[in-house]
């Protein structure tokens, strides 16, 4: 990288002079993704997600006639009785405070009520406790689920029609599901409470993941549009060139998308202590990173693996490989073969095209 650094690297990737065998080594990526997916499934099954009040309902305490409506007082009081709880504290009217925690047993309920009465300097009778149902109940979840399913199906159909290849849309949807699964696994490992914000975060991941796959696949489509009309390189090699050519774009996009989210997650969540934003920024951070990576390392190789089973493309690949074997047997320059294998459209100087390069005789 004598000149230009990153830009020169981009040039080399574009021309195919430098090429990473991403599609060729797909076995590695598939096993990594499979490993992570299995781990995520295991974690989700055995540990599960820590659903918050919004999903499960919980206990609600109302402190009337409080001397102060400071929220930290309540948080400390609840933490003393039930550590690990993240209470939602809301001021109600002028001098009442509403504290919501996830469901407690009777004894804990009484002790929290006492602690709250103590903290706010009121009689225990001024603290009423009640059961509060989920704001994000089953019906809301179901509708969200159906909506998501409908959107994934519609997006899959759209991609299948746009690329005129259902295998491509299958690859994109499978890769997207893996992204969401892995993100959920990471979320479960960390064990933070799942809030409606988290769900929104996951939906955003879904959208971003499909979007990113769309952009990468469009490049694949562009490169492989006429793949059957030539015999220099195979579908897989052309797709690999596409991945290499979009590498710079993918890096730039992921960095730009991740920077603000990372800002909220690291600066906000850990240093400044904006706890409530951490749930959404974590799911977004993991999801965007996974989404961008899987477009390159999972979706495209998967697409190649699927499409090489398409009879036309399989036949074409065989033909190209036979021709190339013939070339090698003829003692062709390795560089010619390698350039073709990198998927590059670049022709090799010094190699004559034979009579195919000559103008056709008119009949």
């Amino acid at each position: 990288m004598a000149r230009g650094g990153f830009a020169q690297w981009g040039n080399d990737l574009y021309t195919g002079r430098r090429s990473y065998p991403i599609v060729q080594r797909r076995g590695i990526w598939f096993s990594i993704v499979a490993l992570f997916s299995v781990a995520s499934v295991l974690i989700l099954v055995f540990q599960g997600l820590n659903l918050g009040i919004d999903f499960r309902g919980g206990s609600e305490f109302t402190v009337s006639g409080a001397s102060t409506t400071d929220e930290d007082v309540a948080i400390d009081a609840v933490a003393a009785v039930a550590p690990g709880e993240e209470p939602h504290v809301t001021q109600v009217g002028g001098n009442a405070v509403r504290v919501q925690v996830s469901e407690l047993d009777n004894e804990q309920t009484d002790r929290v009520a006492e602690a709250l009465a103590d903290a706010y300097g009121v009689e225990v009778s001024e603290v009423t406790s009640n059961f509060i149902g989920p704001t994000w109940g089953e019906s809301v979840s179901l509708r969200a689920l159906w909506g998501t399913l409908a959107f994934v199906v519609a997006a899959g159909l759209f991609m299948a029609i746009y690329f005129r290849a259902w295998r491509m849309s299958v690859a994109a949807v499978v890769a997207m599901l893996a992204d969401v699964l892995i993100s959920a696994g990471v979320y479960a490992v960390i064990g933070w409470e799942v809030t409606p914000s988290t769900i929104i975060g996951f939906l955003t991941i879904l959208g971003f993941s499909l979007y990113d796959k769309m952009v990468v696949f469009d490049k694949v489509r562009e490169n492989t549009d006429t793949v059957l009309e030539q015999t220099r390189s195979t579908y897989g090699e052309r797709a690999n060139l596409a991945v290499n050519q979009t590498l710079v774009r993918s890096i730039n996009t992921s960095v730009v998308a991740l920077l603000p989210v990372a800002g909220i997650l690291f600066v906000g969540g850990f240093l400044l202590g904006a706890g409530t934003l951490k749930d959404i920024s974590l799911s977004l951070f993991v999801g965007i990173a996974a989404g961008a990576l899987s477009s390159l390392f999972l979706a495209t190789p998967l697409d190649v693996a699927l499409r090489e089973r398409e009879p036309k493309i399989a036949a074409h690949t065989r033909k190209v490989m036979d021709l190339r074997a013939g070339l090698v047997a003829d003692g062709a320059d390795e560089s010619v073969v390698a350039a073709a294998a990198s998927g590059s459209a670049q022709l090799v100087p010094g190699t004559h095209l034979g009579q195919s390069a000559q103008p056709r005789r008119r009949r």
Binding site: T15, E71, Q91, Y211, V215, P260, V267
Partner: protein, 624 residues
């Protein structure tokens, strides 16, 4: 171009006009403001506690509560994208939290009892109390009861006597109720006038529908007895027969233009009712019986919360469970009726148990910290794009600023127009939108660079790069828009708000790329600084040109093909990851004779075998 600028500026103008003409103030909370409205989690709002009461005093089942929450959510969401939070509290209460100030109208709408019944009309009267024993059924049999009532009200408003009718409808003694039960028992059918017992007649005569107290409704009517009640607007009063079709049998109600007899769409607004199979059967029996009767007994009343919403007459027996109510509806009055009807299939009434101001569920301090963190992230985005694209990065930043301004103004406009509220998930959606939006520019710039790498001039590169980038951008944004639209229409609450933000930013993003980024790019392609590829322009040929590339037929591309430049720009070292680079193989022998193919092949093999002498690209003798 002018049109484009106008389109971009239009929302700004609209917002400023709205701010000036319909400014937000304490007595006009729905007015326009330069700042967008914030949702519950960021701003706080009003908490309304509703207590569910069944009309027959039976236990409130969890299923009914679930359904009640669904209906209330629908009512709140029908007001716009407000992202209200609704939860059950205990076994009988529902807590509704609505952002911002809530007017009484909204509370009334939410807590409005939703018990709908279809009853046959026995008598219609003027809204004022009468002393004559038999109320004159003077109202016409017109389908439009409101017009009929209006007419009647005008005609006899002078006759307004004493307003003693304080007694709520249905305030009968036990004996009177027993008498009514007997009358209903004896009646041949639900339209039998013998059901109007003296006590019913007395109640009807006394009833004063001009008294607002009698227009509050309140349920509690016995479905098996006649009902004396008012029109919900207070322009007529009715004696109605026992319930014939339950509101829960109504599967849907929608408003629209009514098709006329020959199947084409007329310009008359109406409401279409769809009944389930039970309802369709009952409705067929009712309408077949009512159809031949005289006016007003050929009308059936739709009773919501013990008040008459509408009392259309029957033009034809309805046998298929699909009824159309037409009359002098406007578009909005038809929509209102359809809404009332579709919300009306719930067997519960609600009492407002308490109404309180609540603070934001997220500490404002925390939000501020989060925003600061987000801004730091944004600043890093600016730094990164300047590093990546040099001066061209400024175009990215400018485009982002334009997109941000348009988004802000649109959100402010929408929070004025349809009550959109920005919530935390909404803010998160906007932050992620930075990534989506910037990606359009990145795709576009990368395509331009690709064209430059192919050795095209900047102007041509911009042209061709745009055509290629445009296709990718449209396709990818279409997926986003698709997801936003589907999620918006299929979900509720927070997800809906998120879908709205996603769709909005996607549309604005495409607008900005087409109308701002691309035109500006075309303009700066003419500026010498960029055109000639200054080092800091991000488009310098130095950074982007590839080494000479052989294009076949003895032609090369790239700027280093001239021999003189070779001294200035040395052949870049070849770092190969997997693939070997294509090396120019010698085409001429040392004495300048053109090699034969066999000689050349041999030379190639030799070169491949390791002789590293890279011969200079040959100067080609063109043969043609």
């Amino acid at each position: 171009m002018l049109l484009t600028i106008l389109t971009i500026l239009l929302p700004f103008g609209a917002l400023l006009a709205g701010w000036q003409l319909d400014g937000k103030s304490s007595d006009n909370p729905d007015g326009a403001s330069l700042a967008p409205g914030l949702a519950l989690d960021l701003q706080g709002g009003t908490q309304v506690i509703l207590k569910a009461v069944t009309s027959d005093g039976s236990e409130v089942t969890p299923e009914a509560m679930e359904e009640a929450i669904g209906v209330i959510r629908q009512r709140v969401d029908a007001n716009g994208v407000t992202e209200a939070e609704i939860a059950a509290q205990g076994s009988q209460q529902i807590v509704v939290e609505i952002p911002g100030e809530v007017d009484d109208e909204t509370v009334a709408l939410i807590s409005k009892a939703a018990q709908m019944k279809f009853r046959p009309v026995l008598t219609i009267g003027n809204p004022t109390p009468t002393v004559q024993p038999s109320a004159d059924p003077s109202a016409s049999g017109d389908a439009d009861d409101e017009a009929a009532g209006d007419e009647a009200a005008e005609g006899e408003s002078a006759e307004d006597g004493s307003t003693e009718g304080e007694e709520a409808p249905g305030g009968f003694t036990e004996e009177e109720i027993a008498e009514q039960e007997a009358a209903v028992e004896a009646a041949t059918d639900a339209s039998d006038l013998s059901q109007i017992t003296p006590s019913v007649q007395a109640a009807f005569d006394e009833l004063d529908c001009t008294d607002p107290q009698n227009l509050q409704g309140g349920g509690g009517d016995r479905p098996d007895l006649p009902l004396v009640t008012c029109d919900q607007t207070g322009i007529a009063k009715y004696v109605l027969g026992p319930v014939e079709v339950d509101g829960t049998d109504l599967s849907s109600a929608s408003s629209g233009l009514v098709p006329n007899s020959n199947g084409t769409v007329s310009n008359v607004w109406g409401v279409t009712l769809d009944l389930n199979s039970d309802g369709a059967r009952d409705f067929r029996e009712t309408t077949e019986r009512l159809f031949p009767l005289e006016s007003p007994r050929n009308q059936f009343a739709i009773v919501l919360d013990a008040l008459v919403v509408s009392a259309p007459s029957i033009n034809d027996p309805i046998t298929n469970g699909q009824a159309v109510i037409s009359g002098s509806f406007t578009q909005s009055s038809a929509a209102t009726l359809a809404n009332q009807l579709s919300f009306g299939s719930l067997p519960l009434t609600f009492q407002v148990d308490g109404q309180n101001q609540i603070s934001a569920t997220l500490g404002s301090e925390q939000l501020q910290r989060g925003l600061i963190a987000g801004l730091i992230g944004l600043a890093l985005v600016v730094v990164y794009s300047l590093f990546q694209y040099r001066t061209l990065g400024l175009l990215t930043v400018a485009s982002l600023v334009v997109a941000a301004a348009m988004t802000y103004v649109t959100i402010a406009l929408l929070s004025w127009g349809i009550g959109y509220r920005l919530s935390l998930p909404g803010v998160a959606g906007l932050i992620v939108a930075i990534g989506f939006t910037a990606d359009s520019f990145i795709v576009y710039f990368e395509r331009i660079r690709d064209e430059l790498r192919d050795g095209r001039s900047l102007r041509l590169a911009v042209q061709r790069g745009w055509v290629r980038a445009r296709r990718t951008i449209y396709a990818a944004k279409a997926v986003n828009l698709l997801s936003a639209v589907i999620l918006y229409f299929m979900t509720v609450g927070g997800v809906r708000g998120f879908a709205f933000t996603l769709g909005l930013t996607t549309i604005i993003d495409v607008m900005v790329v087409i109308w701002f980024t691309h035109p500006v790019m075309e303009l700066i392609a003419k500026v010498p600084f960029f055109r000639d590829g200054h080092k800091a322009s991000g488009l310098s040929p130095d950074r982007l040109s590839s080494p000479p590339r052989y294009r076949g037929a003895g032609q090369f591309t790239g700027r280093t093909s001239a021999g003189t430049e070779d001294e200035v720009v040395p052949e870049p070292e070849r770092e190969l990851v997997s693939a070997q680079s294509a090396r120019p193989a010698p085409r001429v022998t040392e004495d300048g004779r053109r090699m034969t193919i066999a000689e050349r092949r041999a030379a190639e093999r030799k070169a491949a075998a390791g002789s590293a002498d890279a011969a200079q690209p040959a100067q080609n003798e063109e043969k043609h």
